[in-house]
């Protein structure tokens, strides 16, 4: 995990746990690291780690089992995917078009690149 200066660290903590849920590094119903583990491993204030985890509790991605710790909720992956799809346009498409504009890449060229990418995967 690496934190950059763009966003508050607690948001980055939440996003990186979401990433781990998406890739199933943390499968549904499995336990996620504790606030202390996150704080020690990433050298961040425990209050910041807690704030990040609380975001996931609010969104229903993780839940607390009393005395045991925090666990990935059932259906969390699907929920996160839906949310991320909504963000996808703002986060990636807008900046993609901006960068393409700076470099003078036309829409056709862009489309060709995206098509080419698809072919490579096939």
């Amino acid at each position: 995990m690496h934190f950059d200066g763009e966003k508050p660290i607690y948001l980055q903590v939440a996003e990186q746990i979401e990433d781990a849920i998406l890739t199933e590094a943390f499968p549904e119903k499995s336990q996620i690291p504790s606030t202390t583990e996150i704080s020690v491993t990433y050298k961040i204030n425990p209050a910041t780690a807690l704030k990040g985890i609380n975001l996931l509790v609010e969104s229903g991605a993780v839940y607390k089992k009393r005395g045991l710790g925090m666990f990935v909720a059932q259906g969390a992956k699907k929920k996160i995917m839906e949310k991320r799809k909504q963000d996808f346009y703002d986060r990636y498409i807008v900046s993609l078009l901006e960068e393409a504009g700076k470099l003078g890449i036309s829409r056709q060229e862009l489309a060709a690149m995206l098509g080419g990418e698809e072919e490579n995967h096939e």
Partner: protein
């Protein structure tokens, strides 16, 4: 709850005012960053806390009682010291002596930390290298397990691995014993994520004393072509600016209005070190 209160603490050395009516309160459960430029008064603040110097005016109070020459209060406070009390001793013996002075001293933790940092118990304290002298002092401070723990430049002379180890040990220790931790340092960028509260002293005066979140939301950074940055920041209050050829970075006060950011300008969060430099660069 335990409280350490500074009431109008003033310290004069001849006609130099090292601390000028500083008032603040420290509480357990927080990691404070004590920041200030060279000569700002950080060390003086520690020295009036640890009974090394008596304030010219004002006082430091632990739960309402002056800490000056107050053994009971000083048992609750540990400051990483400039010098070492037992320079001619070997590390193991030095730790034993500290444990006799400090009722809460955790010898097991101290020995475990020595092993992790590879500090030889047989080494003579006065012949330790700069880095290991710091390591010895921070081990004493951490293992003292005092409700108020002050680290003065805790990573001075430490290599990257040892700095990393210190920050991890600090967080682990804080999870077990969430006391009041104060870190006085110049390496702001490195430890900013550890802190939850910022205290800035500038030229002897208290300049900032607030949660890190509040500090970081005081402003934002805008960078891009100088003309566009100037147009965007016109009429806005700035902490400062930096130029690089035709590019400009402005540190703007207030909250960014994302809607209004024109193309080609990049808006990002302030980082603590930038803000500190801009605030104290006068």
């Amino acid at each position: 709850m335990n409280k350490l209160t500074y009431e109008n603490v003033t310290m004069r050395f001849g006609d130099v005012t090292a601390l000028d009516h500083v008032s603040l309160t420290l509480e357990p459960g927080h990691i404070y960053g004590l920041l200030g430029r060279n000569g700002a008064g950080k060390s003086t603040l520690l020295s009036v806390t640890a009974n090394w110097r008596h304030a010219t005016e004002g006082d430091v109070l632990l739960n309402g009682e002056s800490v000056w020459e107050n053994t009971r209060a000083q048992q609750q406070i540990v400051c990483m010291s400039d010098g070492n009390l037992f320079p001619t001793m070997r590390v193991k013996n030095g730790l034993l002596w500290y444990s006799r002075f400090r009722s809460g001293f955790d010898m097991e933790q101290a020995l475990r930390l020595c092993e992790k940092f590879e500090l030889s118990l047989k080494a003579k304290i006065q012949s330790l290298s700069t880095g290991y002298a710091t390591i010895f002092k921070l081990i004493v401070a951490m293992a003292s397990q005092c409700p108020f723990t002050f680290y003065d430049e805790p990573v001075l002379g430490l290599d990257a691995n040892h700095r990393d180890l210190f920050y991890r040990e600090l967080m682990e220790d804080f999870a077990k014993n969430p006391r009041c931790v104060v870190i006085s340092t110049h390496l702001i960028e490195e430890c900013s994520a550890l802190l939850d509260h910022i205290i800035v002293i500038n030229k002897g005066k208290l300049m900032l004393n607030e949660p890190v979140e509040d500090t970081l939301s005081r402003g934002y950074t805008v960078s891009g072509p100088a003309g566009a940055v100037d147009a965007f920041t016109a009429g806005k209050k700035l902490f400062g600016t930096q130029n690089l050829g035709g590019l400009k970075t402005a540190y703007v006060q207030g909250t960014p209005d994302q809607e209004k950011a024109p193309d080609g300008l990049e808006i990002s969060a302030l980082d603590l070190q930038q803000l500190f430099i801009q605030l104290t660069n006068v």
